[in-house]
């Protein structure tokens, strides 16, 4: 985006009036300072109430022995120190073992899902970059999975994955003759792949939408110049399209990663409260194990560990990607 074209603050007259285009000088100084804070206040209060304070409470709870007896007044629950954390990461005991397994499953699942979403979205956006017959229809059609409410889409997939009356087994077993008997998809090891298919189906249009927006910022004459130099389609994609998409991709991959890693809705609607072991993603695992044992202290400790992990990954990621960026552009 050409941001410079619309930032007229280099004009000394404007800048003198107020930095950042603040109101005319006849307003009192205090008013001018207070106004931005007042504008932000509603958003800040809401975020405090619904996100930040609950999060701090969640951290507080992770240090408490918070069982169902203390749910009404959580602050009176006995102090547990780091016990909840110790239980969560004791990988020799069942609780820690299950958490570790769920964490590793989620890691593998997220890497596969993000990679596939990115690939499908980018490929589709590049293929739809040029005008051709039916382009508009496809562009609209590809956004349908994104527009559908999660639960209706996932319920439909759950129906398709039914063992006896689903479409998947009808095609794979009855029509293509794969396997001796129809496979189970929503229990057992196959559930991982069922979940992955649904997650990619639901997630790739967001990549498509974002990359499509990013492609609009690549000047056409860059392609024309490259074509004159004899660069073929593949070379143009490699040397113009993909490098230009870098800043878009950096954000896109991060957002997809966080969404997929934290996804609760998809496994919850597909499998119900308890997912099969092979598809036991971490959010649902924490939810299920908290409400099963009613030990919310341990559940909170697990959530805090999850948050720490996400913070570290995001921090490292941003550090790595923005460092390369500062030297090349901006």
């Amino acid at each position: 985006m050409t941001r410079t074209a619309v930032a007229p603050t280099s004009d000394p007259a404007v800048r003198k009036a107020a930095p950042g285009g603040a109101p005319a000088p006849r307003r009192s100084g205090r008013r001018r300072i207070a106004l931005p804070y007042l504008l932000l206040l509603p958003a800040l209060l809401l975020e405090l109430l619904v996100h930040l304070i609950p999060m701090l409470m969640g951290i507080g709870m992770s240090f408490k022995e918070l069982t169902q007896f203390y749910i009404r007044d959580w602050s009176s629950a006995p102090w547990a120190g780091l016990d909840n954390f110790a239980v969560s990461i004791d990988f020799d005991a069942p609780v820690g073992q299950a958490l570790l397994k769920s964490f590793l499953t989620t890691c593998l699942f997220t890497v596969l899902s993000v990679a596939l979403c990115w690939f499908l979205g980018t490929a589709a956006a590049i293929f739809l970059q040029e005008e051709f017959r039916g382009r508009g229809i496809l562009r609209t059609l590809f956004l349908v999975p994104y527009a559908l409410p999660v639960y209706t889409a996932v319920i439909t997939w759950a129906f398709m994955f039914q063992r006896d009356n689903g479409l998947i087994n009808h095609v794979l077993h009855d029509q293509l003759g794969i396997g001796d008997s129809p496979a189970f998809w929503l229990i057992g090891d196959n559930s991982f792949w069922a979940l992955l298919v649904v997650s990619v189906w639901k997630g790739w249009p967001f990549a498509f939408l974002t990359v499509m927006a990013g492609l609009q910022n690549i000047p056409r004459d860059m392609y024309e110049a490259a074509a004159l130099d004899g660069a073929g389609v593949l070379k143009q994609i490699r040397h113009i399209t993909l490098p230009s998409l870098r800043p878009v991709n950096q954000i896109l991959v991060l957002v997809l990663f966080l969404w997929t890693f934290n996804d609760f809705n998809t496994p919850f609607v597909l499998f119900g409260e308890a997912a099969p072991e092979a598809a036991d993603l971490i959010s649902l695992h924490i939810y299920q194990s908290s409400f099963q044992t009613w030990n919310f202290g341990t559940g909170s400790a697990m959530s805090v560990l999850l948050l720490l992990f996400l913070l570290v990954v995001t921090g490292v990621y941003l550090l790595l990607t923005t460092r390369g960026r500062k030297t090349s552009d901006v």
Binding site: P36, E47, P54, V144, P149, I155, T156, L167, H170
Partner: protein, 279 residues
């Protein structure tokens, strides 16, 4: 760009397969919603043996779908309106003013996006119960509580996107409005909001979809009278049987309003993403 044949064929094959992948569930949804129960309980059939609109009549009887519908519309609608208004104010502040704590604010608000929902589900539940006990304002189990929760879900992204959108509106416009005697708030509504209307529509679409599709908090924080569609649709599965034809019919009825709305407004969303998110 004169594309070679190989490119055209790759494109054709890729797009065909992808279209099939995208359309398949939609086809299942539509065709199964028109089948009698015996058909959806037996082997899947590509071509239905008998068509019936019965499921579309029965869905309203099997579960109180109309009530869930009203709940979803009220909750998602209110969350959208409030979220957009709050986001407009915040984005205006971030875009047009320099002040201490601006960076902290943006980073804090944006980072709430990455919190796992599960971390604050239980604390939020406790806060709502305690507020209810202390003040008599029922947040837990009520529509209001859900509205309050949902409106913060779309807020970070909305603020971020609108800030980018507002940044792209020339400041001369604000200045001109101020010369005409508008205060900052009047200038916001007279000048910035109309100029940014595509971005605002995009943000509203996003907020509505977020609220309409949320499952986790809807499952925990609603009761019999405030249940939304996200939870209500599970009612078609009984102990012994799942009325798959009704599930599909109800899914379709629930999806059509959002999908149509989204597809009508999608170019605003693309435009909004271009201006706001992609820099």
């Amino acid at each position: 760009m004169a594309a070679p044949r190989s490119f055209l064929w790759t494109r054709r094959i890729f797009l065909t397969l992808l279209t099939a992948f995208v359309v398949l569930p939609v086809f299942v949804m539509v065709s199964s919603s028109l089948k009698p129960l015996e058909d959806v309980s037996g082997k899947f059939q590509w071509i239905p043996s008998g068509l019936t609109i019965r499921p579309y009549i029965d869905i309203w009887e099997t579960v109180p779908l109309a009530d869930y519908f009203v709940n979803s519309i009220v909750v998602a609608g209110a969350a959208t309106v409030f979220s957009v208004v709050v986001a407009i104010f915040a984005a205006y502040g971030v875009s047009r003013y320099d002040f201490r704590g601006k960076r902290v604010f943006t980073v804090t608000v944006l980072s709430t996006q990455m919190f796992p929902g599960i971390l604050f589900l239980l604390p939020l539940f406790l806060i709502y119960v305690n507020i209810g006990n202390a003040t008599g304002i029922a947040l837990f189990g009520s529509r209001e509580g859900l509205v309050l929760t949902y409106l913060t879900f779309s807020l970070p992204f909305s603020i971020w996107m609108l800030t980018g959108y507002f940044d792209s509106i020339p400041r001369e416009l604000d200045e001109a409005a101020k010369v005409d005697g508008c205060g900052p708030i009047k200038a916001l509504f007279r000048v910035i909001v109309p100029a940014a209307s595509p971005g605002i529509i995009a943000v509203a679409v996003y907020a509505f979809m977020t609220a309409w599709g949320e499952v986790l908090f809807a499952s925990v924080m609603t009761n019999d009278t405030t249940r939304t569609l996200a939870v209500g649709l599970q009612g078609y599965a009984t102990q012994n049987d799942v009325y798959w034809n009704q599930v599909m019919a109800a899914s379709l009825v629930v999806s059509v309003p959002v999908v149509v709305g989204f597809l009508l407004l999608q170019r605003y969303l693309v435009a909004g993403l271009t201006a706001g998110a992609v820099k």
